[in-house]
Point group: C2
């Protein structure tokens, strides 16, 4: 079946948002931890975090022009630090609940029962329940004028992982750690164990890594 731009523009807003949010494929599921200048914590669910580069280690995410995202964006602008914490299968409900429109003075940590924790050299709150926790320093914010969103780019300066989570070649088995993926606005999935493929070269048949 075929849809075109004019079909999209005729859809009710919520229906369109639900459909279009499915089109990129499966999305990452992260909680962004921040503090304001007075030290009050904030936690927000995002599904737009993406890999931008390995050297330096850069990740991007998209901040939307709504109130919930604005608190996070302002905190990052004011403090230059934030954390990203992988949502795993044991905390999906709490993670999803951080997307509710809590007033600025209420911390989503308190509201959802997730636990803030801090490391010695990084000033933004991590989520204690998460197994993969990244501490980032803001490197750049790029306004995307087309639709009023902001691309937030940060460098990973700290990485907390369970012992033995990193394989010999650097690979982290996220499925084994319970990290989930998101589809659309509200669907959370546990990926099955992955299959790794060899580095691809012209003229050589693709195959699984030994």
């Amino acid at each position: 079946m075929l849809w075109t731009s004019s079909d999209f523009s005729r859809m009710p807003g919520r229906h369109r948002a639900t459909l279009i949010n499915c089109l990129s494929g499966f999305k990452s599921a992260n909680l962004v931890g921040t503090r304001d200048t007075e030290g009050n914590t904030n936690l927000a669910m995002i599904s737009s975090a993406f890999h931008l580069g390995a050297d330096p280690a850069l990740l991007g995410f998209i901040s939307r022009p709504d109130l919930v995202s604005r608190h996070t964006l302002e905190n990052i602008r004011d403090t230059s630090v934030y954390t990203l914490n992988h949502v795993h299968s044991g905390i999906i409900a709490a993670a999803h609940q951080t997307s509710a429109r809590y007033p600025r003075e209420q911390s989503e940590f308190d509201a959802t029962g997730l636990t803030p924790t801090f490391s010695q050299y990084h000033d933004a709150p991590y989520v204690a329940e998460c197994r993969v926790r990244l501490g980032l320093v803001l490197r750049e914010m790029i306004d995307i004028v087309l639709n009023g969103t902001v691309l937030v780019i940060g460098e990973v300066v700290e990485l907390h992982l369970p012992d033995n989570a990193v394989g010999e070649d650097g690979f982290v088995d996220l499925a084994a750690l319970g990290t989930v993926s998101v589809s659309g606005l509200d669907s959370y999935s546990n990926p099955q164990p992955g299959q790794r493929y060899r580095y691809a070269k012209p003229g050589i048949k693709p195959g699984l890594l030994d």
Copy 2:
């Protein structure tokens, strides 16, 4: 266990790339289809496509400064159109193989056995084997000076889906369609069926959608 920036910079390049590519979480798996000004087709695997907005329907992806990505980028710059096609579990090996460094004059369609197909109103090649196929028009390219990558932003102007793939509220069950996710550089996973959560509101317990 804790890693810091200085640990990353001491790692061999391939090890660092493997590790850092895992940190954003699960990634989308798409094939980008393009043509050059002479009509020669090109196909490239990307794991950086992300949702940017629903109205208009905007997706972004990151183009890296390597040769493989450069062909795709130049084609999009020259023709202003491209397609994104969800990788599903039946074509993982062929999709991964498009990441090999084929010379410009060789089409990855021919090299991998995937089939180009065209729609009446869009000039970029779709992948016939894919069940979720998007036709996009270039809206903006943003240079990310920090690491020499380019953010390519396109608007979805065509959407091809199997009959009955869109639910009553607009949701597309990607797990049912076989769409896979990527972790790191080379690991492909089938997500298990997702669980959908209700729209979150302060003071109301999170729960599954009926």
